[in-house]
């Protein structure tokens, strides 16, 4: 199969935090935040990682840049795998990727003015001074007016801060931008502005994006591919159009159904997701979604489903994936031809 090589690829990436201290070891097993997450982002592609809070999506973004140390798996950048997860190995990725934090204001040094914040990546990269005109040009590109450059971060509004964060990310033209909830706390018009800015950046520099969000309408608006994360595992991943048209995992479908529709005449009839996300410390047996799944069978309680390819790029981890255009609620769920299980 001919495939464009991915810019960045995470293969079975896991993050676990120890729960027992080094000096007083206890039997407590490590807490798994991410388990075997495999995601690839191709050059110029926008991948959306969608999940509820606590699904590990922020951790994934940080793990890609080495801000959280992965415990297992592999990261391949530009076709070359990282030798290990030590900070020096991540330098290669950090040089070419930027991270947009969930709260842009906290990601700025409170004692630096915006101009100097924007210049920071360039100063680090070429360790020289940065001309004022360069910074103004950068700010203009991100839609920031130049009077803001002499302000301190706390004086910016939410949208201005977000734009400043994007401007900083563009300071050294990145090949990958990891954006953690890029529209959090912005009103709808500003949200659109930020997303259009992303699209412009992609157009101009062929930058890849990994957008981490819980907001499906954002994913619908910009993404090429979608990865659905639940309790640190990928439940479904595939082309955005396919997933929005015909979700295969009951969870994906439930997420789509819980998205508000502006038209009261159009009502979806599928059940919403039941209850709360189970804790990471008490993962359910078998398929971890079975506690909230409307279609759960006995098998789901005991056996963990594997990632199964549905089409070339579409994978789902479910014993009983939904068939496309299934509109009737409830069992009996359609069985797909059995694939390699176990």
């Amino acid at each position: 199969m001919m495939r464009e090589t991915a810019l960045i690829e995470a293969n079975n990436l896991s993050v676990a935090v120890p729960r027992s201290s080094r000096w007083f070891p206890s039997r407590k097993p490590d807490l798994d935040i991410l388990v075997d997450v495999s995601v690839a982002v191709k050059p110029g592609e926008i991948v959306c990682m969608v999940g509820e809070s606590g699904s590990g999506k922020t951790t994934f973004g940080r793990a890609l840049l080495g801000l959280v140390r992965p415990s297992a798996g592999q990261i391949v950048f530009d076709g070359t795998p990282l030798p290990d997860f030590s900070p020096p190995s991540f330098k290669r990725i950090r040089r070419e990727a930027s991270l947009l934090f969930q709260d842009p204001v906290t990601s700025f040094d409170p004692r630096q003015r915006i101009a100097s914040i924007l210049a920071e990546p360039r100063r680090i990269a070429r360790s020289g001074s940065v001309a004022r005109s360069e910074i103004e040009e950068l700010a203009r590109k991100a839609g920031l007016v130049s009077p803001l450059l002499s302000k301190f971060p706390h004086a910016l509004s939410g949208g201005q801060a977000r734009r400043a964060a994007v401007a900083r990310a563009l300071s050294v033209v990145p090949r990958l931008i990891v954006a953690d909830e890029p529209t959090a706390g912005l009103d709808v018009s500003v949200q659109g502005g930020v997303l259009n800015l992303f699209l412009d950046i992609r157009e101009e520099f062929r930058t890849s994006f990994l957008i981490i969000t819980h907001n499906l309408s954002i994913a619908r608006h910009v993404s090429d591919r979608i990865v659905i994360l639940y309790l640190g595992r990928v439940l479904e991943s595939g082309p955005a159009r396919e997933i929005f048209r015909a979700p295969r995992h009951p969870y994906t479908r439930a997420l789509l159904d819980s998205e508000p529709i502006p038209n009261p005449a159009k009502r979806r009839e599928a059940p919403p997701v039941i209850g709360e996300v189970p804790g990471l410390a008490a993962r359910p047996s078998g398929c971890e979604f079975h506690t909230r799944c409307a279609f759960a069978q006995d098998r789901c309680r005991h056996e963990r489903p594997l990632q199964t390819a549905i089409s070339a790029e579409h994978e789902v981890a479910c014993h009983y994936p939904l068939t496309p255009r299934l509109t009737v609620v409830g069992p009996p769920p359609q069985r797909l031809p059995k694939t390699a299980n176990r």
Partner: protein, 303 residues
């Protein structure tokens, strides 16, 4: 596009970062803006001027003994009277100001310069180094101040350098601890994570980002500590462990006055009042400085 609330009038908006002179001018005007800050800065400036020009202000030689005039009351010749050796108290207080400020400022600068790197390394560096440094700080601060002072005076002999050394040894652990705690809380903040994600080197993170965020609270603590240090120096001198008895210092004046308190309280008041004024001045100044230096607290200025 939704860029809201921006002052787009080019005449009113400043695009250039103000220079340090202008910025410090703003800080000073901010300090003056609060009544306590005004009192503080006035006292501090007064004390510093007196300290610098002590030799010219003092009407008499502060160590000149005149037994005939011992324990004289206030008069036009001796504004604050004389002590039991007939030395002019006013002159001694003035020159004592110089001693106090010299000791306080040099001791605190040395302590700050030593504590900053130690605290940054302890907070940002590896865990074992942190543990080792904390052990040293704790052992130092567990020694009783007076015992430490006594031991050092016995080893090195009394004098201003000894007093400075005692104060440095006494204050470095607490400053370094403050820097360490601040560093620890800052290093998990997003902006430090962002620096790491931008490939910033460790020295860059330490000195360009952690240091400016840590130094504010530290300078304020030092400012508030000037009064403690002056009291300390006075205390050591009072006990005879500080500056030599003939050198005028507020502690020596107090100590001399204490022995004659049954006949006159004037020497004790003359030694104690400047101590109280200095304490009030530097405390108010420090607090106003804290408010003025914090960009979040700095009041909005109209052009």
């Amino acid at each position: 596009m939704a860029v809201i609330g921006i002052d787009t009038n080019p005449l009113q908006s400043q695009t250039r970062e103000p220079g340090w002179l202008r910025r410090s001018g703003r800080v000073v005007s901010d300090i003056f803006h609060t009544p306590l800050g005004g009192i503080g800065i006035t006292l501090v400036v007064l004390i510093l001027v007196v300290a610098v020009f002590a030799q010219w202000i003092a009407p008499y030689n502060p160590t000149a003994i005149s037994v005939k005039e011992r324990l004289a009351g206030p008069s036009f010749t001796h504004l604050l009277g004389t002590d039991q050796l007939g030395r002019d108290l006013f002159s001694r207080v003035i020159v004592g100001t110089q001693t106090a400020m010299m000791v306080a400022i040099s001791a605190l600068s040395i302590a700050l310069v030593a504590a900053l790197p130690l605290g940054l390394i302890a907070g940002y560096g590896p865990r074992w180094l942190d543990a080792a440094l904390i052990l040293v700080f704790d052992s130092l601060s567990s020694l009783p101040m007076i015992m430490l002072g006594l031991a050092i005076v016995v080893l090195l002999g009394p004098g201003i350098p000894t007093v400075i050394l005692v104060i440095v040894l006494y204050s470095v652990p607490s400053y370094a601890r403050l820097v360490r705690t601040q560093t620890l809380s800052l290093k998990s903040r997003d902006f430090i994570k962002a620096e790491q994600a931008m490939n910033a080197s460790t020295p860059r993170i330490l000195f360009n980002h952690l240091l400016p965020n840590v130094i504010g609270p530290l300078l304020i603590l030092a400012c508030l500590d000037i009064s403690t240090v002056i009291t300390l120096e006075a205390g050591l001198s009072f006990l005879g462990l500080g500056v030599k008895p003939q050198v005028p210092s507020w502690g020596n004046i107090l100590s001399d006055g204490f022995s004659v308190i049954r006949s006159t309280a004037l020497p004790v008041i003359a030694g104690g009042a400047p101590l109280i004024l200095a304490t009030i001045g530097f405390t108010f100044f420090g607090e106003a400085l804290r408010d003025a230096l914090d960009p979040k607290l700095a009041r909005e200025r109209k052009p």
